[in-house]
């Protein structure tokens, strides 16, 4: 099996590995970089649990080959807050509003929503729920997740917020 050398930056650390081209990015993150905060649910792009940010944009890490991320910059849930620092405002809001129960879906929600936070102020609940629809949660019924997003937006941008 021919292997390809890749160099992928995750949360500021560079991981250089020789990998099979069929290795999924989600498996590179978990098994090569050892960052198990990124969860793998359905492995075909439906559940959103494996969402990470590629050069700042949310993507499904199970729908990308690791070799395609060569030379790119990734951010996973471990990169949201410093290890010894306070939680990211979105994490703190999830905690306070009970927007998680088992927590399996949470990293995917956080990484999908975080870059969109500046834009959610002007959205009504229906539009906000459409924005969140790419991530599945089987515990909360979503109500508290919507509340968490509203709370985080308010703390970061004030009641009116941008837009």
């Amino acid at each position: 099996m021919s292997r390809i050398g890749v160099s992928i930056e995750i949360n500021g650390d560079v991981f250089e590995r020789e990998i099979e081209p069929r290795l999924l990015l989600s498996d590179f993150i978990r098994h090569e970089a050892g960052l198990t905060g990124t969860h793998v649910g359905c492995e075909h792009g439906v559940c959103g649990a494996c969402t990470v940010q590629l050069d700042g944009e949310p993507i499904r890490s199970c729908l990308m080959l690791a070799v395609q991320a060569n030379g790119r910059r990734l951010r996973t849930v471990e990169g949201l807050a410093a290890p010894d620092g306070p939680l990211h405002p979105l994490q703190q809001a999830f905690h306070e509003t009970h927007a998680l129960q088992c927590g399996f879906c949470t990293p995917g929600f956080l990484m999908a929503i975080e870059p969109l936070l500046p834009d959610v102020g002007g959205l009504d609940d229906r539009r906000l729920r459409e924005l969140l629809a790419g991530n599945l949660c089987r515990c909360t019924g979503y109500e508290s997740i919507v509340n968490a997003v509203r709370l985080a937006h308010e703390r970061l941008f004030g009641a009116g917020g941008p837009r």
């Binding site: 999924l24 944009e57 499904r60 729908l63 999908a112 790419g134 991530n135």
Partner: protein, 288 residues
């Protein structure tokens, strides 16, 4: 599950891609955004011997207006087309269709060319592009040709491409003003595969729809994007009101040949097409 092994090839130009397709197109697959292909690889529904990754072919990613027509490079990401102010101003049907297409993380990776070449009967862009009478420019080492929508969308997951051909560009002609468009669909969860949908484009002439100014194209109502000629004829050359929209909806339902599957039966889907078409016609007319 995990993909079966394959040879990974990463060309950086169209010419190089065409060489690789000529040599290995029969047993290989093109990888663009991967949002439909990688799930098939993960489930091993697709086990190509070679994967030709065109993500480094930068010359295929662009959105531009030339001689009034919209030219979209096949590797343009959905999110980029969605953000384009040029598209929003002159081809708003595409912008509206893109909002229905899966979810933001999928649109960040998925490509316009991939949505076309995958030819999924439940996909939004083929329907919108059919309503806009787009042309699909394909190239191989043998030359270049341009396909009409019915030549590109041959059947479910069956694009009208030869194994050595690469879709390079989508061309969308300008709409004669004034016009109005609407894209509407219904899914259990926003962003899931739709149970039914419709794209409508109407051109206005005074208080009437222009003769030959109506396009009604259905989603999930057959093996590919399905035009509803009877509905279009009912709208042409007359004022578009509630009665006309309802009649067009009923005609669209007659043109539909939807599947029955665990999500919904054909009768439900046909009724859905009638309702969605009526709404889309009225919305498009309001926007003229």
């Amino acid at each position: 599950m995990k993909p079966a092994p394959f040879d990974y090839l990463a060309p950086t130009s169209v010419e190089e891609t065409l060489e690789l397709l000529a040599a290995r197109g029969e047993e290989g697959k093109l990888l663009a955004g991967g949002q439909s292909l990688v799930p098939m690889l993960n489930f091993r529904l697709a086990q190509p011997e070679a994967l030709i990754d065109i993500n480094h072919v930068a010359e295929l990613a662009y959105v531009a207006r030339r001689d009034g027509a919209l030219h979209i490079g096949a590797l343009t990401r959905h999110a980029e087309l969605e953000r384009s102010t040029l598209v929003a101003e002159h081809w708003p049907l595409l912008t509206e269709a893109l909002r229905w297409l899966a979810h933001p993380p999928i649109r960040n990776r998925g490509t316009v060319g991939g949505s076309v070449a995958h030819a999924d009967p439940a996909a939004e862009l083929p329907v919108a592009l059919t309503a806009l009478d787009a042309r699909f420019v394909v190239r191989s080492r043998r030359g270049q040709r341009s396909l009409a929508p019915d030549e590109m969308f041959v059947g479910p997951l069956q694009p009208g491409l030869e194994p050595d051909e690469l879709l390079v560009e989508i061309r969308v002609p300008a709409l004669a003003r004034p016009f109005g468009c609407a894209f509407v669909e219904q899914a259990r969860r926003h962003g899931d595969f739709a149970l039914g949908g419709v794209a409508v484009a109407l051109g206005r002439d005074g208080d009437r729809c222009r003769e030959d100014g109506a396009r009604v194209v259905l989603l999930g109502a057959g093996p590919g994007p399905r035009r509803a000629p009877e509905a279009e004829a009912l709208l042409a050359s007359r004022p578009v009101d509630e009665d006309a929209a309802r009649a067009a909806g009923e005609a669209a339902a007659r043109a539909a040949d939807p599947p029955t599957d665990p999500h919904a039966d054909a009768g439900y889907r046909r009724a859905l097409i009638a309702t969605l078409t009526r709404r889309a016609v009225l919305r498009a007319w309001e926007r003229t």
